[in-house]
């Protein structure tokens, strides 16, 4: 298909075709990542800005490596979100960056909807690298690539997502994407971590983990934000591990060939036991490799097409 979208903001907007295009493109980039010289000239002369208002070494590094393998120049901005409102606003910062003519701006921000605000205000492409508890599309896409690779398909699979669904942008993006691709999605967590009306997204809601992973093809564990403890969402790590932690015994309930995923970083012994995390069924490190390929695909589709493409034209007109 012809790629026409200016931004990648979330799985809510992406069509099935677009998701497939990203995954197929990512697959073709995986080959580059296995080469001795892991570099192609696709984005030579273009600049990718990583604007991270929240520390995330993993995601930022993944985008940076992806950009570099496509020969783009990368710049990292890490302003403090606390300065917003006192002096320079977010829009000021972004207008400044836009004036430096990058091709793509990759934004991570603690407030939901920030990439959407930016996409309305700037002509350059915006990639959401995680906005509050809203979406984290590149993570969901790399998860989907992982599932497709391990299972050959997404459609018809039973995928259980376990953890703090309320505060998880990874969960939200995955639910939206996986449902679009025809999977059966189950979510599970303590009731304090299940947001209102989530069943309207077509997921099955569980509070009993054994039931939630029964016959599952994929188990996706979410990171528990230990710092959210102040909200009293669960009584203790110990109790959480007992009811919602994934361990060998519990894993018996899933299909024998079920795979285990986790967006990282893991709290070993809380949401996932070490033996499970390090088992052959764990795809956690493969996910990281796929992350680079998916981010290369996103950057390529947004900025790497030949001159004459609709988007490339717009990018020029924007200045």
């Amino acid at each position: 298909m012809m790629w026409t979208r200016k931004d990648v903001l979330g799985l809510a907007d992406l069509s099935v075709d677009e998701i497939q295009t990203i995954l197929d493109t990512a697959e073709s980039f995986k080959e580059i990542n296995r080469r001795e010289i892991k570099k192609v000239p696709t984005l030579r002369g273009k600049t990718v800005v990583n604007l991270f208002y929240e520390p995330s070494t993993r995601t930022r590094t993944s985008f940076e490596i992806a950009a570099k393998r496509l020969s783009a120049d990368t710049v990292n901005f890490t302003p403090s979100s606390s300065s917003v409102g006192k002096g320079e606003t977010l829009l000021d910062t972004v207008r400044n960056i836009e004036a430096m003519h990058p091709a793509v701006i990759v934004v991570r921000h603690p407030n939901a909807g920030t990439p959407h605000l930016l996409s309305r205000r700037v002509g350059i492409s915006v990639v959401n690298a995680g906005d509050g508890a809203h979406e984290h599309p590149s993570q969901a896409l790399l998860d989907m690539l992982m599932i497709r690779e391990a299972k050959g398909r997404i459609e018809g699979l039973t995928i259980s997502i376990v953890g703090d669904i309320s505060h998880s942008r990874v969960a939200r993006s995955n639910i939206l994407g996986l449902k679009k691709m025809g999977a059966n999605v189950r979510i599970c967590g303590p009731a304090t971590m299940i947001p209102p009306a989530i069943d309207r997204l077509g997921v099955e809601v569980f509070h009993d983990m054994d039931a939630a992973i029964h016959d599952a093809d994929v188990i996706m564990m979410l990171r528990i934000q230990l710092e959210r403890q102040t909200g009293a969402l669960f009584p203790s790590n110990r109790e959480y591990a007992r009811f919602y932690g994934l361990n060998e015994a519990r894993l018996e309930r899933a299909k024998p060939d079920a795979i285990i995923m986790h967006p990282g970083p893991m709290n070993r012994g809380v949401e996932i036991s070490s033996d499970v995390a390090d088992s052959t069924r764990s795809k956690i490190l493969d996910q990281v490799s796929n992350g680079v390929a998916v981010r290369m695909a996103i950057l390529y589709l947004l900025a790497g097409r030949k001159a004459g493409d609709e988007d490339a034209d717009r990018e020029v007109e924007g200045h």
């Binding site: 409102g85 606003t89 977010l90 909807g113 809203h134 309207r200």
Partner: protein, 426 residues
């Protein structure tokens, strides 16, 4: 000097009048309501109101004039201009200025600025607690002497029930109600929108309806306990409305108001993080909106109040979670109310009642009627007019309205305060 408003249809819910009348004004008061065409002598000014409806001037129980302290958002003068352009002849100003109106010197300043502006009448409300901190009561007696007509910590909720009980009892000794922004601050956190499917979809924390319901229940219980008058501001949930309905049936002295945005919009309208749809209490669900409409019709809700909350662009043009709460409302309230009439939700008479005599009764204000001898605060509107609400119709200093671009029905043509035209639109 005599002024005659000729050829209008007069609707005055206070007296039950709905007839074609000419209104004769002298010395700022209504001298007479005469049959159309009846001869009157010595008329110096003649206002042709053919095709229009004349009603008592609208009264808004809930306005943020922002002065002193936030003159970049609104001044008393610009706020009063916005008021009269929307047909409002009296507005009650909230206490969350800077400094807070918790001392008579601030009250005096507000009244002086209002007098200088000389447009709408301004009735200041003072804070319930010093600095809106929810702890110690303001000098209510002295504030009352200086002209405040009620007490409110609006923007904040008095979370301590013992403080609230004392506030109700003490204020009631002056015959003045305490107005409450009824939201349990612990349940609400600082969530930026209504809790539900749309907050979940947008990844935003949500304010549950229960944050309002539980606090309305508490305050109604305290009002029943003490017999003191209570006014619930901007009621927005089905649950809270049911509690007020029950309380009224039992004779608890409670009144309440609803804002136009809560009977026109729902949380889904937030769309993709549009900060012009961010307010407190937040836009609620469809059931809540229907409950507000029903309660406007059946009398559970006493008044329509705008919660006019101007904010400069800087604090709205930003991340949704960081954006300031509130929208302007004075310019649009009347047309939105009239939409309820056109939709058959309320009668013309009820619509005018909600904007005039009902709010006056709740706060003992000396307005809201067009009977002989009354102050000649009059709003004249064309019920057939249509227009698009654009920024050039906004007299507020701030333009934070979710209704910009909306096709509107019925339009205010002229506003008189004390018999003097303070606003006219051709």
């Amino acid at each position: 000097m005599r002024t005659l408003i000729a050829k209008s249809r007069v609707i005055d819910p206070a007296s039950g009048l709905d007839e074609p009348r000419d209104i004769l004004i002298e010395d700022g008061r209504i001298l007479d309501l005469v049959r159309p065409g009846e001869k009157v002598a010595d008329v110096a000014e003649r206002i042709d109101a053919k095709g229009c409806i004349a009603t008592p001037g609208f009264v808004d129980l809930h306005v943020h004039l922002r002065e002193p302290g936030y003159e970049q958002k609104e001044t008393i003068a610009t706020g009063c201009m916005a008021a009269v352009s929307g047909g409002f002849t009296s507005v009650c100003s909230m206490a969350n200025t800077n400094p807070v109106n918790d001392h008579s010197s601030v009250t005096a300043l507000i009244l002086a600025k209002a007098k200088e502006a000389d447009l709408a009448r301004v009735y200041p409300m003072a804070a319930v607690t010093k600095g809106l901190a929810g702890e110690s009561l303001t000098e209510m007696g002295e504030l009352y002497e200086h002209g405040v007509i009620g007490f409110t910590d609006d923007g904040r909720c008095v979370m301590n029930a013992a403080v609230m009980r004392n506030a109700l009892v003490y204020a009631n000794s002056f015959g003045v109600p305490v107005s409450v922004h009824a939201i349990d601050e612990h349940l609400a956190g600082d969530a930026p929108m209504n809790s539900g499917f749309h907050s979940m979809r947008l990844g935003l924390r949500g304010v549950p309806a229960a944050a309002e319901d539980t606090m309305v229940a508490r305050d109604v219980v305290l009002s029943a306990l003490t017999g003191a008058r209570l006014h619930i501001q901007h009621i927005s949930t089905k649950g809270a409305i049911e509690i007020v309905r029950m309380a009224k049936a039992r004779g608890v002295p409670v009144t309440c108001e609803a804002a136009p945005h809560h009977f026109m919009l729902i949380d889904e309208d937030v769309g993709e993080y549009d900060t012009n749809f961010k307010m407190a209490p937040p836009l609620r669900g469809v059931d809540d909106r229907e409950a507000v409409r029903e309660a406007l019709a059946d009398g559970t809700i006493d008044a329509i109040a705008t919660d006019h909350a101007p904010h400069e662009k800087l604090v709205k043009d930003c991340e949704f979670e960081k954006a300031a709460n509130g929208i302007i409302g004075l310019e649009t309230a009347f047309s939105l109310t009239w939409e309820l009439v056109e939709a058959g939700v309320i009668s013309e008479m009820r619509a005018i009642e909600l904007l005039t005599v009902a709010p006056c009764k709740a706060f003992n204000l000396p307005h809201g009627t067009l009977t002989k001898g009354a102050l000649a605060d009059i709003t004249i509107f064309d019920p057939k007019a249509t227009y698009t609400f654009t920024t050039d119709r906004i007299y507020s200093l701030s333009k934070n309205s979710p209704f910009i671009g909306r096709a509107m029905k019925a339009d205010v043509k002229r506003t008189l305060v004390g018999g003097r035209t303070v606003f006219a639109r051709d």
